[in-house]
Amino acid sequence: MDAFEQHVRAGLAYLGHDVDETEIAIMRVADGVYGPQLRALVDADLTGVWPEPEMDAGRAPSSRFPAGLE
C-alpha cells in the first residue's frame, strides 16, 4: 500500500467512511488529473494577498478593503 492509499484509507476511516478498491482507483485517476494543480495552489506564494472580507461576488471588490501587506 503506497502513501496515497494509506492517506485515503486512514483519512476516510477517521471520518467514518468505507472505501473500496474501485473507489481508490477512481481517486488515483482524479489525483493524477487535478493533483498537480491543487498542489501548486497549496505551494503558491501569496504573500500579501488576503481573502476578501464580506465578499459580494456580484460587485467589484470594495476599494476600502485592504489588499494585504504589500
Binding site: H7, L46, A57, G58, R59
Partner: protein, 446 residues
C-alpha cells in the same frame, strides 16, 4: 415563415402570439410534438408537463413571453415538481422558485424539465440519473454539463429558450458544445430562491437561447432588469494569453481569433496575476461549498464515480481552502483593474469540441485528457470573480461540432455582453447562430 413554429426565434414566437398570427395552443401542441419527434436520441427534456403547461397557458397573463413554451433545468422548484439535480431522489420539494414566478408572470409556459449532470457536478452531461444527454449536432457526443439538457433542447429547436445554471461554467460550456448562446449572469443578478444550488457564491442562473437577441429577452424576463442596447462603439477586448489561450484545439483557437478579427475590435494583451491557479481555486471553492449539502444517504445513491470523488474531496485540507480564497481575492482585484484598459475579456469557451459520450476525453496539444479540467480552466474564472459571461457560437469544427468564444464584462454589464454578442453574430453574417443541426434541418424541411 417556417413550417414549424419552433423554427421561429423566441422573440418571433412572442411577437406572433401577441399579434394573433400564431395561436398559443397550437404552438404548445407543436412543441410537444417536436419534443416527441426529436428528443429520443438526445434525452434533453426528461420530464414533460402537458397538463401543467396547459394550465399555465390558460392562466397566462399578458407579458413579454405570453404563451411561449420554455424549459427549465432540473434544479428549480416548480409548484408541481421537486428538482432532482440529475440524481435519483428529490433534492428539494415542489414549490415556487423565483425563476418559476418570473416565467409565470411573463406569461411563459413551462413544458418540461431538462437533463442535468449528476448533482450538477460535471461539464459533459454523460453522467446523470436521467441518462446521458446527446448533442444535437451528433447525438453520440456529449451535450455538455451541467445544463446539457437545456443546451441540447434549444440547439435541437425543441424550445427557443431554456433556463440554465452555472456554478463552474455549466451554462457556457454546454452552450458552446451545442452551438447555442448562453449567458451566466452576474452573481446574484437573477434571484436564486428555489434553485437547489442557491447556497453557493459560485453559482448563477442564465438564459440559453439560439442567439443573443433571444438571450437578451429571456435574460430580461429572468432578472426583471432591462438590458438596453448601447451606442455600438467599438470595444477594447482584453486577451489573457496565458493560460486562457493555451493548450487549445487548433481549430478552436483559429475560429475564436477569426471572430475577433471579424468584429474589428481593438485587442489589449493582459496578464492577470493568479490566473494560473483559477482552475484549482474554482475546483476547491465548488467542492467546499457543495460538500456540506451532501445528505446522509446521498452517497449510497450516487453515481459510483461521483461517490468516489466526493469521498476524496472530504480529505481536502483547510490550507488549500484558504489558498483558494486568496486566489479568488487576487483575481477579483486583478480583473477590476484590467477593466480599466478593456471593455470585455475574450477567450475560447471550451478548449476542444464536445467529446464522445462513450469516452468523454478531448484531444489537446498536451495530449488526450478528460474534458472537465480543461473546461473548468476556461470558465472557473467567471465563477470565482462573479463576472457575467456569455458563450457565442463562432465556428464549426471539421468534426461537425460547434465552436464558441466566451466574452466576460464587468459586474452588472450584461447589456454590454449582449451588444458584443450581437456584433459578433453580425460580423460573421449570423452563419453560426442560424445554423441548424441535421436533425433539426431534416425535420424543418419535411
Amino acid at each position: 415563415m417556417s413550417a414549424h413554429p419552433q423554427d421561429l426565434s423566441l422573440r418571433e414566437q412572442a411577437a406572433a402570439v401577441a399579434s394573433g398570427t400564431l395561436d398559443a395552443a397550437e404552438l404548445l401542441e407543436a412543441t410537444f410534438a417536436r419534443i416527441d419527434e426529436r428528443d429520443g436520441e438526445l434525452n434533453s427534456v426528461v420530464v414533460r408537463f402537458p397538463e401543467e403547461a396547459a394550465r399555465m397557458l390558460a392562466d397566462a397573463p399578458p407579458g413579454p413571453l405570453n404563451g411561449v413554451p420554455v424549459a427549465v433545468k432540473d434544479m428549480f422548484r416548480l409548484p408541481w415538481y421537486g428538482p432532482r439535480d440529475g440524481a435519483p431522489g428529490q433534492a428539494a420539494p415542489p414549490g415556487e422558485s423565483a425563476v418559476y414566478r418570473r416565467l409565470r408572470d411573463a406569461g411563459a409556459v413551462i413544458v418540461g424539465v431538462t437533463q442535468c449532470h449528476f448533482w450538477g457536478a460535471g461539464s459533459t452531461g454523460h453522467v446523470s440519473a436521467w441518462g446521458p444527454c446527446g448533442n444535437p449536432w451528433n447525438p453520440a457526443h456529449c451535450a455538455g454539463g451541467s445544463s446539457g439538457g437545456s443546451a441540447a433542447a434549444v440547439g435541437a429547436r425543441l424550445v427557443a429558450a431554456a433556463v440554465g445554471t452555472d456554478g463552474g461554467g455549466s451554462v457556457r460550456l454546454p452552450a458552446a458544445y451545442c452551438g447555442v448562446t448562453g449567458l451566466k449572469a452576474t452573481f446574484g443578478a437573477i434571484d436564486v430562491e428555489g434553485y437547489t444550488h442557491g447556497y453557493s457564491d459560485m453559482g448563477a442562473i442564465g438564459p440559453m437561447c439560439r442567439d443573443a437577441a433571444d438571450a437578451r429577452l429571456f435574460g430580461e424576463v429572468l432578472s426583471g432588469r432591462t438590458y438596453t442596447r448601447g451606442d455600438g462603439r467599438p470595444l477594447r477586448v482584453g486577451v489573457v494569453r496565458d493560460p486562457c489561450w493555451t493548450n487549445l484545439d487548433p481549430e478552436i483557437e483559429r475560429a475564436c481569433d477569426s471572430a475577433l478579427d471579424a468584429a474589428g475590435w481593438e485587442r489589449v494583451e493582459l496578464s492577470i496575476a493568479g490566473a494560473e491557479h483559477q482552475q484549482a481555486a474554482a475546483l476547491v471553492c465548488l467542492t467546499i461549498q457543495s460538500l456540506p449539502m451532501v445528505r446522509p444517504g446521498d452517497l449510497e445513491e450516487a453515481d459510483p464515480i461521483l461517490r468516489a470523488l466526493t469521498k476524496f474531496e472530504l480529505l481536502m485540507t483547510p490550507v488549500i481552502v484558504h489558498q483558494a480564497a486568496r486566489i479568488r481575492s487576487l483575481l477579483r482585484r486583478e480583473v477590476a483593474a484590467a477593466f480599466g484598459s478593456c471593455d470585455v475579456l475574450a477567450w475560447p469557451t471550451v478548449p476542444a469540441p464536445a467529446p464522445p459520450i462513450e469516452n468523454p476525453t478531448v484531444e489537446l496539444p498536451s495530449g488526450r485528457a478528460p474534458a472537465d479540467p480543461g473546461n473548468l480552466r476556461q470558465t472557473g474564472f467567471g465563477n470565482l470573480t462573479g463576472l457575467p459571461g456569455i458563450s457565442v457560437p463562432v465556428g464549426t469544427h471539421t468534426s461537425g461540432l460547434p465552436m464558441a468564444l466566451q466574452l466576460q464584462a464587468p459586474w452588472g454589464e450584461e447589456a454590454r455582453l449582449f451588444d458584443a454578442a450581437e456584433h459578433l453574430e453580425d460580423s460573421t453574417a449570423r452563419e453560426f447562430v442560424d445554423a441548424a443541426p441535421s436533425l433539426a434541418a431534416q425535420s424543418s424541411r419535411s
